[in-house]
């Protein structure tokens, strides 16, 4: 079968390492050039053929996961907003003007495990990009008045997002599934903490002092650049940045021992059934997450028998998908279904559970497994066609493991997943005791729980 041959040779097909720096064979087709500065700042360069354009990323390994203190949910994200509020050298007005003059696409975003600042623009402006970023990362200085005013923008962001029933369900699901660990709150934080943000000026200074330090940051530059130039600029602008000393203990989530429920009652909206299982912390050292990725694609994609049955033939489900976010600590792995009518919630639940049970007891066939591995790798390879996407992809591995070069072993792990490992992983994670059932329907929660009947 030619498909299998293709999977076996895939590593070679995508490998075309740079002459100067032999690279490991793998799915990522460009050399990843890393230099650790004396202060602990990792500087990553990926030369890429994008004439005149470069993407400049700074990954800070702080996100809502690190918000362990009472009343401080949403703070990492709020702080991301404050990073645009100026320094002594570039007060906010001037910062805006200089940023505009660069003509770049610049923004930032925060999530569970990280905050990412990105700027894609003219490669000839790289010097200015370094200067601006180093200045605010090392010398941020906003007034208390600006701090208080910025909180309203976060409320605006919350307001725009949470008119959606899907967002309400997302918030409630994580809040239900996690009781101790900080994944219990979404990145934007609890509403009451967002409202209280203007009163947290002193804490914000502490936050900056703790996290905006070289040991928590990685610079990634991709595009029409050389490592020599990037390193020179990094040393020039970030060389004097002093490391910090803060460390913390993230609360460990206790073992879940019973099925939990999260429900949004919503009329005039398609019913939703989402089965969320406690997953695994991302690591290239063990294959559990790779196996869960394979399961999500193999068992629930358009190619899967359940998709064909429920979506195409019986047409009782509008959308069906499965997968988990790669996270630093164990997150959730989910099967999500959007239904045509609420009366089918139980039937759909039974169909999904039956697929999961089969995965636990019967080995998947080797052809489907080989095709799934091919699907995952080719799907990834096709995203790598511009500096921004490449930098973004390496940012993932940077915040997950600290090493962007883990992209290759990370994807190579898919090749190691066997039918036996899939059975083991399904038995280990996809069990009722680790499950949070999340639903949207016009009915009340108690009716939905009764209907779904997980305990009996």
């Amino acid at each position: 079968m030619n498909r299998i041959l293709i999977v076996l040779t895939l590593g070679l097909l995508f490998a075309c390492g740079g002459k100067e720096e032999p690279k490991e064979e793998g799915v990522f087709p460009y050399p990843i050039q890393q230099t650790m500065l004396d202060n602990g700042l990792n500087v990553v360069t990926v030369p890429f053929n994008s004439p005149g354009i470069a993407a400049f990323y700074i990954v800070v390994r702080v996100g809502s996961r690190n918000e362990i203190e009472e009343g401080k949910t949403g703070f990492a994200h709020f702080f991301e907003h404050m990073m645009f509020r100026g320094t002594d050298k570039y007060p906010k007005e001037k910062y805006g003007e200089v940023l505009k003059s660069i003509g770049a696409a610049a923004n930032a975003n925060t999530w569970f495990d990280r905050t990412v600042y990105h700027m894609t623009g003219n490669a000839e402006m790289l010097d200015k990009m370094f200067e601006l970023e180093a200045d605010r990362f090392m010398n941020l200085n906003y007034s208390e008045a600006d701090f208080k005013v910025e909180a309203g923008a976060v409320k605006g962001e919350y307001t725009k997002n949470f008119s959606s029933p899907y967002m309400k369900l997302y918030e409630k699901t994580y809040n239900t599934a996690f009781t101790e660990h900080t994944y219990s709150h979404t990145t934007i934080g609890f509403w009451e903490d967002v409202v209280d943000m203007p009163n947290q000026y002193e804490y914000s200074l502490q936050f900056f002092d703790r996290w905006y330090r070289p040991e928590y940051c990685t610079i990634i530059v991709v595009g029409d650049v050389t490592q020599e130039k990037v390193n020179t600029l990094a040393r020039e602008y970030f060389g004097e940045w002093e490391p910090g000393s803060y460390t913390q203990q993230i609360p460990v989530e206790p073992e879940q021992t019973e099925t939990r429920y999260a429900h949004i009652q919503e009329e005039n909206f398609p019913p939703v059934l989402s089965l969320n299982y406690k997953g695994v912390a991302y690591s290239v050292e063990n294959l559990d997450m790779a196996a869960l990725d394979v399961i999500g694609t193999l068992a629930f994609s358009e190619r899967s028998p359940i998709y064909k049955k429920l979506v195409e033939e019986e047409r009782i489900v509008r959308e069906l998908s499965a997968g988990g976010y790669n996270t630093v600590d164990p997150g959730l792995w989910s099967v999500d279904a959007v239904l045509v009518k609420k009366e089918d919630l139980t039937k759909v639940k039974n169909e999904i559970v039956s697929v999961l049970e089969k995965l636990k007891t019967e080995p998947v066939d080797s052809l489907t497994l080989a095709q799934t591995k091919s699907h995952l790798k080719y799907g990834y390879a096709m995203t790598l066609d511009n500096p921004d996407a490449i930098a973004n992809s390496l940012a993932w591995f940077t915040w997950l493991t600290g090493d962007p070069a883990d992209v290759n072993p990370g994807y190579a792990n898919y090749d190691k997943v066997t039918p036996e490992i899939i059975m083991e992983v399904a038995n280990k994670y996809l069990v009722d005791d680790k499950l949070t059932v999340a639903t949207i329907s016009p009915d009340e929660q108690v009716e939905v729980i009764e209907e779904l009947n997980f305990d009996r």
Binding site: R3, I6, V7, P51, V340, D385
Partner: protein
């Protein structure tokens, strides 16, 4: 000069085939093929609104004379190849993406989908049902921002072929049969109204095969319906759409303008628009006034053409060329009274939140720019920004292809390079003349998705031009400088030429 394009050789189609072709050959192993049909939702027959989009969606979701959709999914799975349709008002684009390892194999599987789609009854019913629930429920519940935009277009384009959203109307979709789809496909997806685009690693033989196949589509040039005259409203007409317990009011406004990408004034208006409200940029005027200085919402932008999926994208997509544009202001949700009073005891008793004030602030600024124009420094900076920034629109081969294909619609070769060149030659006078000509604040449509309890007081406030002082919380008020309050004082009684305010329940929209 757009530097991305320097290394790319442009080839024009040999004259063997009738179709226009845009080629971007490169060593990229990701091959993109685009087929752009000049039809779009304006070709939907009256009473069957949604037919073009449904037809296109179904082509992407049905089988061929050779394979069922399910079989196609199986065959494409190991390749991770994908294809999809996108319909706008005047164009439908199919985009195919595949790794060059599988190019020929992929094409042999999907060519029948375009040439001989099966339009299986079960696929038809599935896709139609999904579109119906979108129009009936999802658009009204999932994002107030998207809802406000679709509602605004329905009002602004009333009586023209642009009025209904591309997904259709509830009654239009209900009346569409599979036979309608088949007939529409034959009439509007022909070899004469298609533009082929291809980028990546492919050879001439492969392209010739596509061209030859596309020539097998019906050969007539379809009659495209006339858009109809888009009227400027007399005064400001507001529609308020209430929803229970809404924390925010989502605002979108528009009035028709008679320019498009090919118009001489377009480059100047790009500068005006960027200065006032460049999409998702923090250094534009409305953003500074409403978000940065007053903390009222997440962002505030202006547009001189449709911006597809603006809530999700920071850089523009392609495939929505339009011959009729409107000037729009997008004010992202501002706090409603129930939200503010629940947070701040000092605001107890207010009946309307920030919507009226935010609207006034935006109009006051638009009027100021119309009258005063940009300063030389503002002009220089904005121009410098755009000349670099627009090159970022075409970072991927797929985007380059999309922009070149859209350029053809406007009779241009390369929109991006033409604009960056034209902007470099603009003078301050050109820009300020354009601002004076196209900006105005007297006549427009405004849509606000707001809280149920707020709709009636807000209606009264708008209709009577009542003073709407900004209701700051104490913590924000004590942090603001005098210059903020000075402008607020002026803005709170800014006179809006409101002639009509209607409160419309969500269920009456998109019928």
């Amino acid at each position: 000069m757009n530097r991305l394009f320097i290394l790319i050789t442009f080839l024009t189609s040999s004259a063997v085939f009738a179709q226009d072709v845009i080629e971007l050959p490169s060593s990229s192993t990701k091959v993109i093929v685009k087929l752009a049909f000049k039809n779009g939702s304006m070709c939907d027959p009256v009473g069957k609104e949604g037919l073009t989009n449904l037809t296109a969606s179904l082509i992407a979701e049905t089988g061929s004379d050779q394979y069922t959709k399910s079989e196609i999914n199986d065959l494409l799975y190991p390749m991770a190849a994908n294809y999809s349709s996108f319909t706008d008002k005047e164009m439908t684009t199919f985009t195919f993406a595949v790794h060059s390892d599988f190019l020929e194999e992929f094409y042999d599987i999907i060519r029948g989908v375009i040439l001989n789609p099966s339009f299986a009854q079960s696929d038809f019913e599935r896709i139609k049902s999904n579109l119906e629930v979108y129009v009936k429920e999802i658009i009204k519940a999932n994002s107030d921002e998207d809802f406000s935009k679709m509602a605004l277009e329905e009002q602004l384009f009333e009586g023209t072929r642009y009025a209904h959203m591309k997904e259709g109307t509830i009654s239009g979709l209900a009346s569409i049969t599979r036979e309608d789809v088949v007939a529409h496909y034959k009439k509007y997806f022909t070899s004469k109204n298609v533009l082929i685009g291809i980028a990546g690693k492919y050879d001439q033989r492969f392209l010739d095969k596509i061209k030859s196949d596309i020539n097998q589509l019906p050969g007539q040039m379809p009659d495209l319906p006339k858009l109809g005259k888009v009227e400027m409203p007399d005064g400001i007409e507001v529609q308020l759409i209430p929803k229970p317990n809404n924390l925010g009011t989502a605002i979108y406004t528009g009035y028709p303008i008679d320019i498009d990408r090919s118009s001489p004034d377009w480059p100047a208006m790009l500068v005006v628009n960027s200065y006032l409200g460049e999409h998702r940029k923090s250094y534009s005027k409305l953003y500074k006034l409403i978000r940065e200085q007053r903390s009222m919402n997440y962002g505030d932008y202006t547009y001189i053409e449709w911006y597809e999926a603006g809530g999700n994208n920071q850089l523009p997509l392609t495939g929505f060329p339009r011959s009729q544009n409107y000037f729009a202001i997008w004010i992202r949700p501002v706090q409603t009274a129930i939200s503010l009073t629940s947070q701040y005891p000092e605001l107890a008793g207010i009946k309307i939140g920030h919507a009226h004030f935010a609207m006034r602030m935006a109009l006051n600024e638009v009027e100021r720019v119309k009258k005063e124009g940009l300063t030389k420094e503002e002009f220089d900076l904005t121009r410098q920004f755009l000349m670099s920034y627009m090159n970022l629109f075409v970072q991927t081969p797929g985007k380059q292809l999309g922009f070149l294909m859209d350029s053809k619609f406007y009779g241009m070769e390369n929109y991006i390079s033409k604009m960056t060149n034209a902007i470099s030659k603009l003078t301050l006078e050109d820009v300020n003349k354009a601002a004076a000509k196209y900006l105005q604040v007297d006549n427009m449509y405004i849509t606000m998705i707001t809280d149920q309890a707020e709709a009636q007081p807000l209606k009264q406030s708008l209709l009577t031009n009542a003073v709407s002082p900004m209701s700051y919380s104490n913590v924000v008020r004590e942090s603001l400088g005098e210059e903020i309050f000075e402008l607020d004082k002026k803005v709170e009684s800014y006179s809006m030429n409101v002639k009509k305010v209607e409160i419309l329940e969500p269920k009456v929209l998109f019928k």
